[in-house]
């Protein structure tokens, strides 16, 4: 239970993108401060939990849902999009096809999950493997600013799970946006500790948290 006066939030965040772009590596780096070149392919879905002491009065639990990249799993893994409040969309700067797939992933996301106020959930674009950028196809990475505006991304970051670049910053940016949404969207708080499990919350059918 939360200490007195301390706010706790539980946020569900999706990590999506083509296969082999480094979704699992980013999560492991962020949660365990660790990189291995030997992660296995994700089958279906995996989870990780990161606890953030956001400020003196706020603790945030981020549930990171690592969604398999292979398209054939798509119609299964979409059930996991439910109630997500933020997303990372990942591409690999050394493979153009993974960048081309970004808009498919973003459109799919907006199609499957919305905030309680009907708006798209905030998504941050991650240009991963930036340590290999010399092999990259993005001549001027700053053109991503325009791209993000056009496609409705909240922000983008160059990241490297291997070299530990950009991931903390990207997560902070996404969490800040989620907190901002949380404060502006009018939804009933179910209880004092701020963890919304959907039980008494009128907008969702009765259910428990699923992990």
């Amino acid at each position: 239970m939360a200490a007195q006066g301390k706010k706790e939030h539980l946020y569900k965040i999706l990590v999506i993108g083509d296969l082999g772009t480094g979704k699992t590596s980013i999560i492991k780096r962020y949660v365990h401060q660790f990189f291995s070149p030997h992660y296995r392919a994700t089958i279906g879905v995996d989870f990780a939990l990161k606890v953030l002491n956001w400020d003196n009065s706020t603790t945030i639990r981020l549930q990171l849902w690592d969604i398999a990249g292979q398209e054939r799993f798509g119609n299964m893994t979409r059930v996991y999009y439910k109630e997500a409040v933020g997303a990372f969309v990942v591409f690999d700067v050394t493979r153009l096809s993974t960048f081309e797939a970004v808009q498919m992933w973003k459109a799919d996301l907006d199609n499957k999950v919305l905030l309680p106020n009907g708006k798209a959930i905030p998504a941050v674009l991650l240009a991963n493997k930036c340590d290999l950028a010399s092999e990259g196809f993005l001549g001027n990475i700053n053109q991503l600013d325009d791209y993000c505006r056009e496609k409705g991304f909240h922000a983008w970051f160059e990241t490297s799970a291997k070299e530990n670049i950009g991931i903390e910053e990207a997560a902070r940016s996404l969490v800040a946006k989620i907190l901002e949404n949380d404060e502006t969207i009018d939804h009933p708080q179910p209880d004092g500790d701020g963890i919304r499990v959907g039980e008494e919350d009128g907008r969702a059918p009765k259910k428990t948290k699923c992990c």
């Binding site: 030997h38 296995r40 392919a41 089958i43 279906g44 879905v45 292979q70 992990c211």
Partner: protein, 254 residues
């Protein structure tokens, strides 16, 4: 040094293999009973019999060059990420060779069965056979599996796989009404066991002997046995401390 029961079992398996008509029923019983087939030498002899493969008649590959296969890039990405399945004592050269063989076996199977579709996790099944008996051995046995045991997972989509996953629910209801209700309410469906089914648990066990013991059992059983096994794993998840599958459950149970 083998234990007494292992020596006994090996004698009986020898006998079953030597009889003029191989006693497949006896081999099945040994594969399922305690300890399974317990050694690579025995597995190399018995696994082919369990699926009716003649190891002396493996036809050489004559299809289109594997370097041009349409799934090559995808398979390569997964094969490169299978290193946790390779025994630690393998040298770097040996690892690379093994990964090349894995890629070849998978592409050869896909080329010979153009109606089948590769899925992530298929490589987790193939690698167990490759580690136990080599390239031709893996090809010959998995060539049977893709037409029978795991055929449904290789459709163009996963609709039939979803149906198979749904079989877990009534099983779980019999085992634990509370958990069945809990999972149903969570609306997460039963997809948490997807990787268990489509990789024959190869995705979640760490050691080769564990993967092999599972193969002993599953080769000797009905193709739907992985569903029953998933139900049984759940039962054990409360008490077992060493399985990685438990971490999946923990997330659902916590």
């Amino acid at each position: 040094m083998w234990l007494h029961w292992q020596r006994e079992k090996e004698l009986q398996i020898d006998e079953a293999l030597r009889s003029s008509l191989v006693d497949v029923e006896a081999l099945r019983r040994h594969a399922v009973s305690m300890g399974g087939l317990f050694h690579s030498d025995i597995r190399r002899r018995v696994w082919p019999k369990l699926v009716g493969v003649n190891m002396y008649h493996i036809k050489p590959y004559e299809g289109a060059p594997l370097t041009e296969h349409k799934d090559r890039a995808q398979v390569l990405l997964d094969v490169r990420r299978c290193s946790r399945r390779i025994p630690e004592h393998y040298s770097e050269t040996r690892r690379q060779e093994l990964q090349e063989k894995l890629l070849r076996v998978i592409l050869r199977l896909l080329s010979e069965h153009p109606d089948l579709h590769y899925y992530q996790g298929f490589h987790d099944i193939v690698i167990t056979f490759l580690l136990v008996g080599g390239e031709d051995f893996a090809y010959a046995i998995v060539n049977v599996l893709v037409q029978h045991h795991i055929r449904d997972f290789m459709d163009a989509d996963m609709d039939r796989t979803k149906v198979i996953i749904c079989y877990l629910r009534p099983l779980l209801r019999l085992e634990s009404r509370t958990l069945e209700r809990f999972i149903h309410k969570s609306e997460c469906a039963y997809y948490f066991c997807l990787s268990w089914l489509i990789t024959w648990f190869g995705h979640v066990v760490r050691r080769l002997d564990e993967a092999c013991r599972l193969v002993d059992f599953l080769l000797a059983s009905h193709p739907l046995m992985p569903v029953y096994l998933s139900g049984a794993v759940r039962e054990n998840a409360h008490t077992h401390t060493h399985t990685t599958t438990q971490t999946h459950f923990k997330l659902f149970l916590d």
